[in-house]
Amino acid sequence: MEACPPLEVMEEAPQRSNDPLERRAIERVRNGDRGAYDYLVSKYIKRVVSIAWNIVRNPHDAEDLAQEAFVKAFENIGRFRTGEPFGPWIYRIVTNLALDVLKHRSRFRHEELTSAEPAARRDAADLRATSDEIADRVDRALESLPEMQRVVARLSLVEDFDHSEIAKMMKLSEGTVRSHLSLARKKLREELADLYD
């Protein structure tokens, strides 16, 4: 499973990390201080699990994927360019891992948590998120979308990534992302017309 994204993408548009603690932690990890990795894990863990959860829709899988993503990032930290933000990199890794899980599921026709059993296997945090009726409607509308539209729409609407970030995370062109999002928007508008129109 090739889930560690190439760094060339990051080299195209170099960004600078604004967090000196993060830069220092990465430097220390590169110098062999494994304990310094805790800072990076604790800083990004919630967002990474949320991204995974929004793709695979299963809290247990999401945690496993987050764990796997952090281990992969650690193993490849030597390739990481000093000074760049760690976030986009770990987000891409976890997105790729989660998309691999989706491919695996569709290949074996394995049905995980779907909208058919909305709250049965969700934990307290999830229930809190969807307890609101509107959020629940939005959640169900998003789940009714075809797979790629669903993933792109969730990364855009729920995780608030822009087109170029989603394109890099999913290894798609920005045009494809826009196209998926446009189709998703049309369906969501039909589905949620009574809520927003």
Binding site: R34, Y37, D38, V41, S42, I45, K46, V49, S50, W53, N54, P59, A62, E63, A66, Q67, F70, V71, F74, A124, A125, D126, R128, A129, T130, D132, I134, A135, V138, D139, L142, R154, S156, L157, V158, E159, D160, R185, L188, R189, L192, Y196, D197
Partner: protein, 102 residues
């Protein structure tokens, strides 16, 4: 934000669908990651780490060798065909002479 009010309002509600794991989740995953990255590599992992690139390199060399041999054999066969067609051969049988290759 977009120029589409529908999407902006939808986004405001959708943000609430973020998975906001509790402190236990954070502790659990952090501990698992720490355990994975600090655990000494097992023999199989150690071997896999070294053998994988070696196996890839050997495969690449073997593939290049196969392609080279195939190309050499092909050019040798073409050369012998050219030689055969360029040189005629005379066969005499029962007083008659037959020419082959012209």
């Amino acid at each position: 934000m977009t120029d589409d009010p529908f999407f902006d309002r939808l986004r405001n509600d959708a943000v609430r669908l973020r998975y906001d794991g509790d402190a236990m989740m954070v502790t659990r995953v952090t501990a698992r990651v720490r355990e994975r990255i600090t655990a000494p590599p097992t023999v199989s992992l150690f071997l896999a780490r070294w053998l994988r690139p070696v196996a890839v390199s050997l495969s690449a060399v073997a593939l290049a060798g196969c392609i080279s041999v195939a190309l050499l054999e092909r050019s040798a066969a073409e050369a012998s065909m050219e030689t055969l067609s360029a040189n005629s051969m005379e066969i005499s049988m029962a007083g008659d002479i037959y020419r082959v290759g012209e």
